[in-house]
Amino acid sequence: MADMGGKPRLPWVSWLIAAAVACIPLVITDRFLIKVLTFVGLNVLVAIGLALLFGYTGQVSMGHAAFVGIGAYTCAFLTVRIGTPWIVGFAAAGVIAAAGGLLLALPSLRLKGHYLAMATLGFGEIMSLIFVEAESVTGGVDGFARIPPPSVAGFEFKEPATLYWLVWAVAGVALLLAYNITRFRPGRAMLSLHGGEIGAVASGVDVVGTKIKAFVISAALAGLSGALYSGVVGFVSPSVFVLSSSVMYLAMAVIGGAGSLAGPVAATALFTLLEYLNALIPSMPAPIAENLGLYQTDIYGIAIILVVIFAPRGLTGLWQRRRSASSAKGGSLAERRQGSSTQADTPARPEGLEEGEGT
């Protein structure tokens, strides 16, 4: 009865994980590994947005690498060429990417499924051409070099550990805000679109507005990730913001599972680390590491196929199935129902049902 919001706050496990993530640079001194874990944070930021867009709202985007690119170039251009403070470039990256998201939302209001996928794919391809052709802003094929590390109020984030903290702080805040969104009215509105647009319209859900907001938020998060990326790496090349990256981002959302933030975040961590397995296992023979890198896209592809066939609801679905299987053993139907209601990772669980009964 204490929290009248009725919705569960973050489970304590997530605070534990957050604390563990925060402590990593204190324990690990390997600079390369820290860098790799920073990349995980960058991808997590994109995955949060895609989880909202795909997993909650049911909208496909095959062009999200373009928003990362928009964010990276915006931040680099503003801080290096215009000379604005980093924080201004960072914020602008989010805003301009959000504007791009608005643009991409327009076809989504008319198109569904494969057609929306094609439209967003087209957007991604056009942007990757622009990144190469708009040389005066992006540096063309040669890329944008000598980008200074992020700095806020005179403090420069140039050490791997400080960069790590910066990236994960942003990702953590984004995750918290996204989590809150999913636990309230907008989250349910998004899920209802995924559940069926006609039913959503008939229930008075603002279908157009919800789709647009989901696109804008996910684009903004990708843009912020791009801005951080440019500061972390110090160099931006157009070869990064291409279709295969977009597919990888989408794969993380698909493999993570719909209607969940934790699933896509876990999938992102898993797949980003897979790419840099040699950082985790220093003793790994070089040929294996090279081959892993070479077949990375294939591994994603196979993983997607396996997930679609054997676990259509992704990591989240597997997790729920495992838990409901253990709670179903010998339980009555009512208990089982109770079980499925408490373990379902969808927002607005009927928490407070008991307290409501008193009124």
């Binding site: 919705k7 809150n180 899920l191 209802s192 319209v201 008939a202 927002p347 669980r349 407070g352």
Partner: protein, 256 residues
């Protein structure tokens, strides 16, 4: 008083005249049944009234306000909610969450308030939830509250969809074949639920094929056949109307 007034609605799909100059009214506080053979245009009529399709001509007025020409969402906000022949539940949500989607139509907190857990969002979330719980209890669904919609039996699915529609606090509820797929005891429960809703002040327009249910609960019946209205009146007159019997009811009702 006439709550819903249908005035000369007409809709053509290519060469097919689905709804042909249909006019009738639904009085406040009554249950009106819309019956007719398959393909008579009943569902099209529903779509026209609720903003899912645009009529070629004519209008539907709810309390004097034209709902034809509004978006389906605005129709809901105006106080007219509907269900579907093939229930359109959100299978990825639980029963109570489905109902909460309906409840939240009259609330405003958006993404920003939610992201920051502003007091406004939390307060309204609590109200949305309490309303949904109250509604579930009214229709006898509270024990199903936490069940994912994908796991519900047909009867409960229908009830859940009706509860979700009721959650938008409609003055007029439109039900498209609510008894389809229900067994006889479920149909009985449905009839009771409809009568209760009417007694609590909700006006109902229902498309239904189950004649026993129609005759039992409806105050008035309108019959359409091949897009045209062929009869309108109280159940006992409709039962004996030779035109209706010939077109739709068949002999057993004619002799009843």
């Amino acid at each position: 008083m006439t709550l819903l007034s249908i005035q000369g609605l007409r809709k053509q799909f290519g060469g097919l005249l689905a709804v042909d100059d249909v006019s009738f009214g639904v009085h406040e506080g009554t249950i009106k049944a819309l019956i007719g053979p398959n393909g008579a245009g009943k569902s099209t009529l529903f779509n026209l009234i609720t903003g899912f399709e645009r009529p070629d001509s004519g209008a539907a007025l709810l309390n004097g306000v034209a709902t034809t020409g509004m978006s389906a969402r605005d129709v809901v906000r105006c106080g007219m909610a509907r269900t579907f022949q093939d229930t359109r539940l959100f299978d990825n949500l639980t029963v109570i969450e489905n109902v909460m989607v309906g409840t939240q139509v009259h609330y405003t907190p958006g993404f920003f308030a939610a992201a920051l857990r502003l007091p406004s969002a939390r307060k309204e979330e609590r109200m949305i939830q309490e309303q949904a719980i109250r509604l579930l209890r009214q229709v006898g669904l509270e024990e199903w509250a936490g069940t994912p919609a994908s796991e519900l039996p047909v009867g409960i699915r229908r009830l859940t969809e009706i509860a979700r529609a009721m959650a938008t606090e409609p003055t007029l509820l439109l039900l498209d074949e609510p008894a389809a797929g229900l067994n006889s005891s479920e149909t009985e429960d449905l009839g009771e639920a409809l009568s209760r809703m009417r007694d609590l002040g909700t006006t109902v327009l229902v498309v239904e094929h189950d004649m026993a249910l129609v005759m039992e609960v409806s105050d008035e019946i309108v019959v359409i056949d091949r897009g045209r209205k062929i009869a309108e009146g109280p159940p006992r007159l409709i039962q004996k109307d030779p035109v209706v019997v010939a077109a739709y009811l068949g002999e057993e009702y004619g002799n009843a």
